[in-house]
C-alpha cells in the first residue's frame, strides 16, 4: 500500500502520451488494424457488448421520444458515445466504483443499474437516484467536475482499507476539464497515487462551446503531465480500443508494475451526434454536417462489422437481439410510468434522524394535503 510519502513525483508519470494519435484497434470499417490486438474477451462478451451498445442507442431514441411526448423531463442523449460507455463498463469488475454524469446511462446499466432505474429521475420520482444494494454506482453527478475529487477520495479510501481489488472509474466531459475540481481531484490522485481511472469523454462540445475554446491545450490527455499521471488518448468510437485502454488502466490502478503509477487520465475522443439535452438546439451553434465524419466511425456499425467478420453475428442473432431490446425497453417504461411518490418522502433521508423542525414541516404538509387534497397543490390558481 502506498503512503503519502511515496507520492514523490515520478519522471515516468510525466510522460505525455497526449500528443500522439488516439489509440485504435478497429479501423473505421470495423476491421482489426494490422498492428492491433483484439482484447482478451470471450465471444459471448463481444456479442453482448454489441447488444448493450445497440440497447443504449435504442434507449436513447426511446427516451428522446418520451421526452417529446412530455412523458419524461429533460434528457441528455448519448448517441455516438455509447461505445465508450459500454466498453468502459465492461472493463470494470463488479466491485469497482463507477461515478457517472447525467449522460452515462449506458455505463450505469452495464455496471448493474436496471433500465427502469435510469428512467426514474427522468420521471421526477423522489427516489430517482436510489441505488440498489450491491450496485457500486454513484448517483449521477450534475454539478460539473464535482465527482472528480470524490473519485480520488473513494479510491484512496479503498486503498487505505487494503481493498487492492477495487478501483474507481470516473466519467466526465471535455468541458469538465476547465473546472477547478478537475485540477484538484487529479492533483490529489497524483500525490496520493490512488487506484482511479479518469475518463474524459471528449465529445468535442460543452453545450455550445467547442473543445478548442475550452482550453488552449492541444489535447486533454496531455493535462495528465501536470499531475504526474499518465495520459492516454483513445478513439472513443472504437469500443475495443476503449475497453483495452480502460482495462489496462484499471489493472495498473490495482496492481501497478514497479515504478508505475496507479492513476490514469484517459481522453476518449468522440462526438455527441445529437443535442446536449432535449432542451438544446445544436443548430444555433454548429453545422449539421460536422457529425458526418464522425458517423463514418460509428461504434455500433464498427462493432457489427467486426462481429460479422469474426463470424459471431448474423441476421438471426441480430433479430433476436432486437427483440430482446424491444422487450426490455417496453418493460422498463411500463414499470416506471404512472409510478408516484408519497409527497412526504421528501423529508426522508435528509438526516439519519428527522429533526423536530422537519417533523413539524412534514406534519404541516400532511395536514394541508388532508384538508385540501392533492389537486390543490398542482392547480395553477389564477
Amino acid at each position: 500500500m502506498s503512503t503519502q510519502n511515496e507520492a514523490d513525483h515520478h519522471p515516468d508519470g510525466a510522460t505525455v502520451h497526449g500528443t500522439t494519435d488516439p489509440i485504435q484497434i478497429l479501423d473505421a470499417d470495423g476491421t482489426v488494424l494490422s498492428n492491433a490486438e483484439v482484447p482478451d474477451l470471450s465471444d459471448d462478451d463481444l456479442v453482448s457488448m454489441y447488444e448493450d451498445i445497440k440497447l443504449a442507442r435504442q434507449f436513447d431514441q426511446r427516451a428522446i421520444s418520451l421526452q417529446r411526448q412530455g412523458r419524461i423531463a429533460t434528457y441528455a442523449p448519448m448517441t455516438g458515445q455509447e461505445g465508450a460507455q459500454v466498453a468502459t463498463g465492461y472493463a470494470l469488475d463488479r466491485q469497482d466504483w463507477l461515478l457517472p454524469t447525467y449522460r452515462e446511462h449506458a455505463a450505469k446499466y452495464v455496471h448493474g443499474m436496471k433500465l427502469s432505474a435510469l428512467l426514474k429521475p427522468l420521471c421526477g420520482l423522489r427516489e430517482g437516484y436510489a441505488i440498489p444494494d450491491g450496485v457500486t454506482v454513484m448517483p449521477e453527478y450534475i454539478p460539473i467536475a464535482t465527482q472528480i475529487p470524490q473519485a480520488t477520495g473513494m479510491a484512496w479510501g479503498e486503498q487505505l482499507q487494503g481493498q487492492t481489488d477495487t478501483a474507481v472509474l470516473c466519467h466526465f466531459g471535455d468541458g469538465a476539464t476547465s473546472e477547478g475540481d478537475f485540477h484538484e481531484g487529479l492533483n490529489f490522485a497524483g500525490v496520493f497515487d490512488v487506484p482511479a481511472v479518469f475518463v474524459c469523454n471528449n465529445n468535442q462540445w460543452a453545450i455550445s462551446v467547442p473543445r478548442e475554446h475550452q482550453t488552449a491545450s492541444e489535447t486533454i490527455a496531455q493535462k495528465g503531465a501536470a499531475y504526474g499521471i499518465e495520459g492516454v488518448r483513445v478513439d472513443g468510437l472504437d469500443p475495443l480500443a476503449v475497453y483495452a485502454v480502460t482495462h489496462a488502466a484499471l489493472q495498473k490502478a490495482k496492481n501497478p508494475a514497479d515504478g508505475e503509477r496507479r492513476p490514469t487520465l484517459i481522453e476518449a475522443v468522440q462526438y455527441r451526434y445529437g443535442a446536449h439535452t432535449t432542451a438544446d438546439d445544436p443548430s444555433t451553434y454548429r453545422e449539421e454536417d460536422e457529425a458526418e465524419d464522425w458517423r463514418e466511425k460509428d461504434p455500433l456499425d464498427r462493432m457489427r462489422n467486426f462481429l460479422t467478420n469474426e463470424g459471431l453475428l448474423d441476421d438471426d442473432l441480430e433479430a433476436e437481439i432486437d427483440d430482446r431490446i424491444e422487450a426490455q425497453l417496453t418493460d422498463a417504461i411500463e414499470s416506471v410510468e404512472g409510478a408516484t411518490t408519497h409527497p412526504t418522502t421528501m423529508f426522508d433521508h435528509v438526516y439519519d434522524e428527522l429533526p423536530d423542525r422537519l417533523r413539524e414541516q412534514q406534519d404541516e404538509l400532511e395536514s394541508l394535503r388532508k384538508k385540501y387534497g392533492d389537486d390543490a397543490f398542482h392547480e395553477v390558481l389564477e
Binding site: 423531463a73 420520482l125 430517482g128 450534475i142 477547478g180 411518490t341 421528501m346 435528509v350 423542525r357 414541516q361
Partner: protein, 360 residues
C-alpha cells in the same frame, strides 16, 4: 477601447452615463414615450442590449452566452450586435468567470457575468464573498468592482437536481454585495440597468419560472429602477406579505383569493432588492397592518424570511398583532420534479399562511 460590433454610436462613457441618469429619474413617471410588450427574459435581453449599446465598457461573459444566446436565450442576439469581444463564451469554470469578471471590472470594464443556474454559482462563492464584496473596502475606496453576476434561480420548471436553487440568503449575508431580484419584465429591465450602472457588485437573480410566464408593456428607452427600493404591489390593511421574484405571482393570487373568500385585505410588498434591504418600506407597511407573512422558495431555516421577521419585531414590535409567518421551502433538498409542487410555496400555502396570521 477598440471599435465593436455595435453600430450604435458610442458617446464617451462618463458623459453618456450622466446623461442617461438624468433621463432615468423621470422614467418611472410618465416620460417614457414608447413601450413594447415583453416577457421577463426578453426584458433582461433588452436591458443588456440597451446598456451594451450605451456603454462600450459593458461586456457579457459566461457559459454558452454568445453563439448559443444563453440556455434561456437571455443573451440571444448580443453576439450579432456587439461582436465576440464583448459577448464571450468562456470555458466551463465559474470561479474563473467571476474571477476574470472582477479583473475586468478592476480595469474599468463593466462585466455582466452569467452563472448558468444559481446552483452552479457555488464554485464562484469564494471570489464573490472574499473579493468582489470586499475590494472597495480593502483598497479603501481606490478600487471598485462594478460587476453584475446574473443567475436564473428558483424552481417549478421540472428541472433536474441542482437547477432549482434559491439560496439568496447566502449572498445577503455578505456585506459589500448587493442582491437584486425582479418579479416583472419592467422591473427586470430597470433593475438590471441600474445594477449594471451601479458602482458595486450586484448578484442579480432572475426568477426563471416567470421568464416567459407573462408579458407586459416595457419602456423601450434606457431607464433605471432604483436599487434598494421595495415596491408595494397591492395595497391592503389587514396583513402584509413580503416576497420577491417568482413568489410574487402566487402571492398576488392568494391575496385576491383571501379577499374574495375571507374578506382579508392584503398588502403585498415585492422587496426587489434583498441587499441592502429597504427596511423603511418593510416597517412602514407593517406599522399599517400589524401582521405579516414572508414567502420565499428557499429553505425556511436561516432564509431571508428570518431576517425580515427579526427586523420587523426589532423595529415595530408594538404594532405586532400576530406571529410573523414564514411560508417557505421546507428544510430539505429540493426534491425531483414530481414533488416540487409540494416543496414550493403555492397560492394554497400562502393563503393558509395569511389566514393563520390574520386569525391569530
Amino acid at each position: 477601447m477598440s471599435s465593436t460590433g455595435s453600430d450604435e454610436a458610442a458617446t464617451p462613457e462618463e458623459e453618456s452615463r450622466e446623461g442617461v441618469s438624468q433621463v432615468e429619474t423621470e422614467t418611472e413617471t410618465a416620460t417614457a414615450t414608447t413601450t413594447e410588450t415583453m416577457n421577463l427574459v426578453e426584458a433582461v435581453r433588452n436591458a443588456l442590449h440597451t446598456e451594451m449599446a450605451r456603454d462600450e465598457h459593458v461586456v457579457v461573459l459566461g457559459e454558452d452566452v454568445a453563439e448559443n444566446g444563453g440556455v434561456f436565450r437571455a443573451t440571444e442576439g448580443l453576439l450579432e450586435s456587439f461582436g465576440d469581444e464583448r459577448v464571450v463564451d468562456t470555458p466551463l469554470a465559474e470561479s474563473g468567470i467571476v474571477g476574470t469578471a472582477i479583473g475586468l471590472a478592476m480595469t474599468d470594464m463593466r462585466p455582466v457575468a452569467e452563472m448558468q443556474f444559481m446552483g452552479f454559482a457555488y464554485p464562484a462563492f469564494d471570489q464573490l464573498v472574499s473579493h468582489a464584496a470586499r475590494m472597495r473596502s480593502r483598497s479603501h475606496g481606490q478600487y471598485t468592482v462594478p460587476m453584475v453576476v446574473r443567475a436564473p434561480y428558483g424552481g417549478g420548471i421540472r428541472a433536474p437536481e441542482h437547477h432549482s436553487e434559491s439560496k439568496e440568503a447566502f449572498f445577503v449575508h455578505e456585506p459589500g454585495l448587493k442582491v437584486v431580484v425582479p418579479s416583472t419584465p419592467a422591473d427586470a429591465k430597470g433593475l438590471l440597468i441600474a445594477s449594471i450602472r451601479d458602482p458595486d457588485p450586484v448578484v442579480f437573480l432572475e426568477p426563471k419560472l416567470v421568464y416567459r410566464a407573462f408579458r407586459e408593456d416595457v419602456p423601450t428607452n434606457a431607464y433605471e429602477t432604483p436599487l434598494g427600493k421595495a415596491a408595494v404591489k397591492r395595497e391592503g390593511s389587514d396583513v402584509t406579505v413580503y416576497t420577491w421574484g417568482a413568489m410574487v405571482h402566487p402571492t398576488l393570487i392568494a391575496a385576491d383569493n383571501v379577499a374574495d373568500e375571507d374578506g382579508i385585505d392584503v398588502e403585498v410588498v415585492d422587496l426587489r432588492t434583498l441587499s441592502p434591504l429597504d427596511v423603511e418600506t418593510v416597517v412602514d407597511s407593517f406599522e399599517k397592518t400589524g401582521r405579516a407573512v414572508v414567502v420565499h422558495e428557499a429553505p425556511k431555516t436561516a432564509g431571508l424570511g428570518a431576517e425580515i421577521a427579526a427586523t420587523i419585531q426589532e423595529e415595530a414590535l408594538l404594532h405586532q398583532e400576530a406571529p410573523i409567518t414564514r411560508v417557505a421551502g421546507y428544510d430539505v433538498p429540493m426534491p425531483l420534479h414530481e414533488l416540487e409542487d409540494y416543496y414550493l410555496p403555492q397560492a394554497l400555502r400562502i393563503q393558509e399562511g395569511i389566514r393563520e396570521t390574520v386569525s391569530f
